[in-house]
C-alpha cells in the first residue's frame, strides 16, 4: 500500500518537474545497462527456472535447439540445430546439431549435451519436467543420440507438425548443458541443481559474469558463440525496484533501458525526445475466473451478467491506456488461430447485467469475494468491476495478495472469483486452448493445476474436449484456424473464464539504442545495437 502510494506520489511529482536534464556521460557504446527489479532470483537452473526476468536472462545464455524469429514469433528458425525434420506421423523429430560449438570449458556442444539436459530435467521433476510432459515427453528413452550431431526425439502426443517445433524453442527444454561442469558441482545427488541456482553452464551468446540478487547481474558476451561475440560486450542489470527511480536513471542517461514503466508515467515518458519506446502485444490474457464450485457462479446467466459488468472500453482508455488492448477471446491477437482484432462482442451494460441476474433468480444480488494480485493494474481492474457490480446489486469484496499466494489458492481451487493474467508459452492457439478450454479431469483428486479450466472447476464438456484435440491434430492450417475460431466463439459464450485484455509490452529505451529485438514473446540481447 505504502509503495503504491509512493509510486503515485512520484508519478505526480515527476509530472511537475519532468524536465530532467540529461547532460550526463552516456553508458559506453559496447555496454548495455538496464534497470530492473532483482528482488527475487530463485534459480538459473534450466530444469527449474520459472520466474519471468531470470528466464529472460537465462534465454540469452542458453540457446535452445530452435529459436523464435526476432521479429515474428510465429516463425521458427534455427538454434543449436541447423536443420530439423519430422516423421510422417509428426511424432519423431530429428535435429542436426551445428558443428564447431564449444562450451566455455572447452568441451564440445553435441547432441548428447542437449539429451543430457533433457534427461536431467526429467529426473529432477521440476518445472521443466512438467512442461515436457505437456508435450508428451516424459521418458529418457524418448531421446536418442545416434551420433554427436544428431538428436532424435519421439513424442507420444499426436500434434500437428506446425505446433511441435515450438516445444524446442523453449530454452529450458531445448538447451545444451555442459554435463561435466555441472556434475563437478553435484552435491548429495542433486545433479548440480544447487550450483545451477546461481551459475549457468549453457551455450549461448552470453555468459554469466556476476549475480548478486537485490544488487546486480552482469552478463558477458561469449566470443566463441557460433555467430561471434554480440555487439554488446556486457549487459549490466542494476537492481532498481522502484519504477520511478528507473525512470530517473533513464532520463538522466545513466541506463539504456528501464524494465518497469508505470502507466501513469507513460505519456510523459513517450513525450521525452531523449527516450524511445517500442510497444508490442504480449502473449497473454488478463481474465476473470468464476469458480464453478460456487453454486451461484455456476448459473450461465450469472456468468453472462459478469461479461456485461466489465468496463472493457473505459479501462482501456484510462487505467490500461497504452498498456493493454481489449481481447475477450482467449487467443491473443497475432497468434496462429486468433480471431480477427475487434471481435469482442461484450460491452459494459449494467441494465443488461441486472436483467440477466434477475432471470437467474438473483434480482436482489449476492455477495462474493474477488481475489487479485497487488501489482498494477489488477487492484484497479478489480475495483472497477466492484463498482459496476454494486450498481447491479452484487457486492464484491476485493482482496489483493502476493502472486505466489494467489497461485496457492488457484491450485487448491479455494476462491470464488479471481482476476489475474496468464502468460502463454508459445504463439499457437493450441497452447491457449489447452490452458483455457480443456480440462482432462475435473475431480479434486486429478489436481490438473496447470489447466485454468480445472482451477476454475469448469468441466467444459465433450464438445470442447473433442474440438481442442481435433484442432491440435489437424494438419490443414485453414481447417485448424476454423476450428479455433469456433472454439473461441463458443468459449466466449459459455466459459466462466472471461477474457478481458491482452497486455502490451512497453520497452522504454534511451534514444541511443538503435536496435532492440522484442517479438512479444521473447527479448533478444545479442542483436542490441546502440550509438
Amino acid at each position: 500500500m505504502l509503495i503504491r502510494f509512493a509510486r503515485a506520489a512520484l508519478a505526480g511529482s515527476l509530472l511537475l518537474g519532468s524536465a530532467v536534464t540529461s547532460g550526463q556521460a552516456a553508458t559506453p557504446k559496447d555496454v548495455f545497462v538496464m534497470a530492473s527489479d532483482l528482488t527475487t532470483f530463485i534459480t538459473f537452473d534450466p530444469a527449474a527456472a520459472n520466474e519471468s526476468f531470470p528466464n529472460e536472462l537465462l534465454r540469452q545464455m542458453c540457446t535452445p535447439l530452435l529459436s523464435l524469429d526476432h521479429q515474428d514469433p510465429s516463425k521458427v528458425v534455427a538454434g543449436l540445430a541447423e536443420t530439423w525434420s519430422n516423421s510422417p506421423d509428426g511424432k519423431t523429430w530429428t535435429f542436426s546439431i551445428r558443428r564447431g560449438m564449444v562450451f566455455a570449458s572447452g568441451k564440445p556442444v553435441t547432441s548428447s549435451s542437449v539429451a543430457w539436459s533433457m534427461r536431467r530435467s526429467m529426473k529432477l521433476n521440476l518445472v521443466t519436467a512438467s512442461l515436457m510432459r505437456d508435450w508428451g515427453l516424459s521418458s529418457p528413452d524418448q531421446i536418442a543420440t545416434p551420433d554427436d550431431h544428431t538428436l532424435v526425439i519421439t513424442l507420444t502426443k499426436d500434434l500437428a507438425p506446425s505446433i511441435t517445433p515450438f516445444a524446442f524453442t523453449n530454452h529450458r527444454l531445448g538447451a545444451a548443458l555442459d554435463a561435466d561442469t555441472v556434475m563437478a558441482h553435484e552435491k548429495d545427488g542433486d545433479l548440480g541443481a544447487g550450483w545451477l541456482n546461481t551459475n549457468v553452464a549453457c551455450y549461448g551468446p552470453y555468459r554469466l559474469n556476476t549475480l548478486r540478487a537485490q544488487e546486480v547481474v552482469i552478463l558477458e558476451g561469449y566470443p566463441k558463440f557460433w555467430s561471434g561475440a554480440p555487439a554488446m560486450k556486457r549487459i549490466i542489470v542494476r537492481h532498481v525496484p522502484e519504477p520511478g527511480a528507473q525512470r530517473l536513471l533513464l532520463e538522466k542517461n545513466d541506463i539504456d533501458y528501464a524494465k518497469s514503466v508505470e502507466a501513469s508515467s507513460l505519456a510523459a515518458m513517450v513525450a521525452n525526445p531523449d527516450l524511445r519506446f517500442q510497444f508490442k502485444p504480449r502473449l497473454d490474457s488478463v481474465y476473470l475466473a468464476l469458480n464453478q464450485k460456487d453454486p451461484v457462479l455456476t448459473n450461465p446467466k450469472v456468468i453472462e451478467a459478469f461479461r456485461y459488468l466489465i468496463d472493457y472500453q473505459g479501462l482501456s482508455e484510462t487505467v490500461q491506456k497504452g498498456r493493454a488492448e481489449i481481447r475477450q477471446s482467449f487467443v491473443p491477437a497475432g497468434v496462429f488461430g486468433a480471431l480477427p482484432k475487434g471481435e469482442d462482442p461484450y460491452r459494459l451494460d449494467i441494465a443488461k447485467a441486472k436483467a440477466l441476474l434477475a432471470e437467474a433468480g438473483y434480482g436482489d444480488g449476492f455477495k462474493k469475494t474477488i481475489l487479485t494480485m497487488t501489482n498494477y493494474p489488477f487492484p484497479d481492474l478489480a475495483q472497477n468491476l466492484q463498482q459496476n457490480a454494486a450498481k447491479a446489486g452484487v457486492t464484491l469484496e476485493v482482496r489483493t495478495m502476493a502472486t505466489a499466494q494467489l497461485y496457492t489458492l488457484m491450485r487448491s481451487r479455494d476462491f470464488q472469483m479471481l482476476m489475474a493474467v496468464y502468460d502463454y508459452d508459445y504463439p499457437d492457439a493450441n497452447d491457449m486452448a489447452l490452458r483455457m478450454a480443456y480440462n482432462p479431469d475435473n475431480s479434486d483428486a486429478a489436481k490438473a493445476t496447470n489447466f485454468l479450466a480445472w482451477r476454475a472447476a469448469w468441466a467444459p464438456g465433450a464438445w470442447f474436449k473433442e474440438q481442442v484435440e481435433t484442432a491440435q491434430r489437424e494438419r490443414d492450417p485453414a481447417k485448424r484456424t476454423a476450428l479455433y475460431a469456433e472454439l473461441q466463439r463458443r468459449h466466449m459464450q459459455e466459459s466462466p473464464i472471461i477474457g478481458i485484455f491482452q497486455r502490451l509490452g512497453a520497452m522504454a529505451l534511451h534514444k541511443r539504442v538503435k536496435r532492440f529485438d522484442y517479438n512479444g514473446a521473447e527479448i533478444f540481447y545479442d542483436t542490441i545495437q546502440k550509438d
Binding site: F41, I42, L131, I236, L248, D254, T449
Partner: protein
C-alpha cells in the same frame, strides 16, 4: 608468621566459582531462551500465515507432481516441529540453509546485506545524533522561544512525512535536477567490485584500498539515504533530548549551579546534559537498532541492497530459512545493543558501577 587472613578458613574453589560464573550462566541462559522463543514464535507464525514458498518456486504452470517434489525438497512435507528442529540443528552448526528467493546460502546473503545496512545505519545515526542532540538541548534551553518552535516543527515533519516520499523528492531534486548526489544503488555501476571486499562497507573498503574515486562515488550515493534516515532519527532523538533536558533543567541542582554563578554553557553541558547521557544512550541505541533492522522503504527507493529489503522479501514468500536467520540477527543486535548500553551506563553514571 602467618597473617590473620591466612588463618581464616578458605572457601573451596568450587564454592567460589559459582558466585562469579552463575550470573554469566544465568544471563547466557536467559539470552538463549529469549532467542529460542523469538525463533519459535517467528517460525510458527510464519508457517500459519498464508505464504507458500512452493508456489514461489514452481509458479503457476507446474503440475501437481512437480509441486509435491518441491515440497519434499524443501522439507515442507515434514511436521512443523521436525522442520523447526532441523532448522535449529543446522543453525547450531552455523548453517542457516539456503534462501529460496536468491538461491544462495543464507549466510552468504547476510554477508552482503548486513554490511550495506550497517554502513547506512551508522552514517544515519551519526547524522541523527549530530543534529538531534544539539537541537534537543537548544529547544529545552530556549523553551517556548522561536528556536524551540523551529525544532518542534522540524521534528514533526521528520516524524510525519513518509520517508519514501522524502526519498523520491530528494532523488528528483538532488540527483536528477542538481546532480549533487548519486542515484540509486551503493556506488556508480562502473565502480562495482572496483575495490577488494574487506568489510563489505564501501566507504571503509575504498579508504582501505586508497581509492578516492570509489570513496567519493560511495559517499555521493550514501549521503541522501543516510540524510533522510538520519533526519527521521534526528526527529526522535531531538524530541527525547528536549524532554530529558527539561526534566534536568527544572532540578534544584541546576538552580544552585546558576546561583553560584556558573556560566549557562557550564550549567547546560557540564551539569544537566551529563545527567541525561544515560537516558540518551538508551534512546540512541533504540534508534540505531531500528536502523539496523533495515529501512525497507528507503532501501527500496534507493535500491540499497540491505537487510530490510532482504527480510521483507523473505517474509513475503515465506522463505523461513532466511526469515529465521534474520530474526536471529535482529534479536542478537538488540541484545548486543542492550549490553553495550549497560556498559555505557557504568561508564556514564558512577552510581551504577
Amino acid at each position: 608468621m602467618s597473617s590473620l587472613t591466612d588463618l581464616a578458613p578458605r572457601r573451596p574453589v568450587r564454592a567460589r566459582l559459582p558466585r562469579r560464573v552463575l550470573p554469566i550462566l544465568r544471563g547466557s541462559l536467559s539470552i538463549a531462551l529469549t532467542l529460542l522463543g523469538l525463533l519459535a514464535l517467528t517460525f510458527f507464525i510464519g508457517r500459519v500465515l498464508p505464504f507458500d514458498p512452493i508456489a514461489a518456486v514452481v509458479g503457476e504452470k507446474a503440475d501437481a507432481s512437480v509441486y509435491e517434489t518441491v515440497r519434499a525438497r524443501l522439507g515442507l512435507d515434514q511436521p512443523l516441529y521436525v522442520q523447526f528442529g532441523l532448522f535449529l540443528r543446522d543453525m547450531l552448526s552455523g548453517n542457516f540453509g539456503r534462501a529460496i528467493f536468491t538461491g544462495n546460502a543464507v549466510a552468504d546473503d547476510l554477508r552482503h546485506v548486513i554490511p550495506a545496512t550497517v554502513e547506512l545505519a551508522t552514517v544515519a545515526i551519526i547524522i541523527g545524533c549530530g543534529l538531534g542532540i544539539p537541537f534537543g538541548v537548544a529547544a529545552a534551553v530556549y523553551r517556548g522561544r522561536p528556536i524551540d518552535h523551529a525544532v518542534r516543527l522540524l521534528s514533526l515533519i521528520g516524524h510525519s512525512v513518509p520517508i519514501f516520499w522524502l526519498g523520491l523528492m530528494g532523488l528528483i531534486v538532488f540527483y536528477a535536477w542538481l546532480g549533487w548526489v548519486g542515484g540509486s544503488g551503493r556506488v556508480d555501476i562502473f565502480y562495482l567490485d572496483a575495490v577488494p571486499r574487506r568489510t563489505g562497507m564501501l566507504l571503509v573498503d575504498s579508504l582501505l584500498a586508497g581509492d578516492w574515486d570509489v570513496f567519493v562515488s560511495a559517499l555521493r550515493h550514501i549521503i541522501l539515504p543516510a540524510l533522510l534516515l538520519g533526519y527521521s532519527s534526528m526527529a526522535y532523538i531531538s524530541r527525547m533530548t528536549r524532554s530529558f533536558m527539561l526534566d534536568q533543567l527544572g532540578q534544584e541542582y541546576v538552580t544552585t549551579a546558576r546561583v553560584k554563578g556558573l556560566s549557562r554553557r557550564r550549567v547546560v553541558w557540564g551539569h544537566a546534559f551529563r545527567n541525561v547521557l544515560v537516558q540518551l544512550a538508551t534512546i540512541v541505541a533504540i534508534s540505531y537498532g531500528g536502523l539496523l533492522e533495515g529501512a525497507v522503504l528507503t532501501e527500496t527507493v534507493f535500491a540499497w541492497p540491505g537487510f530490510g529489503q532482504y527480510l521483507t522479501t523473505a517474509l513475503m514468500i515465506g522463505d523461513m530459512n532466511a526469515v529465521l536467520a534474520c530474526t536471529l540477527i535482529v534479536g542478537l543486535v538488540f541484545i548486543c545493543l542492550n549490553l553495550i548500553t549497560d556498559l555505557l551506563y557504568r561508564f556514564l553514571d558512577p552510581r551504577t558501577r
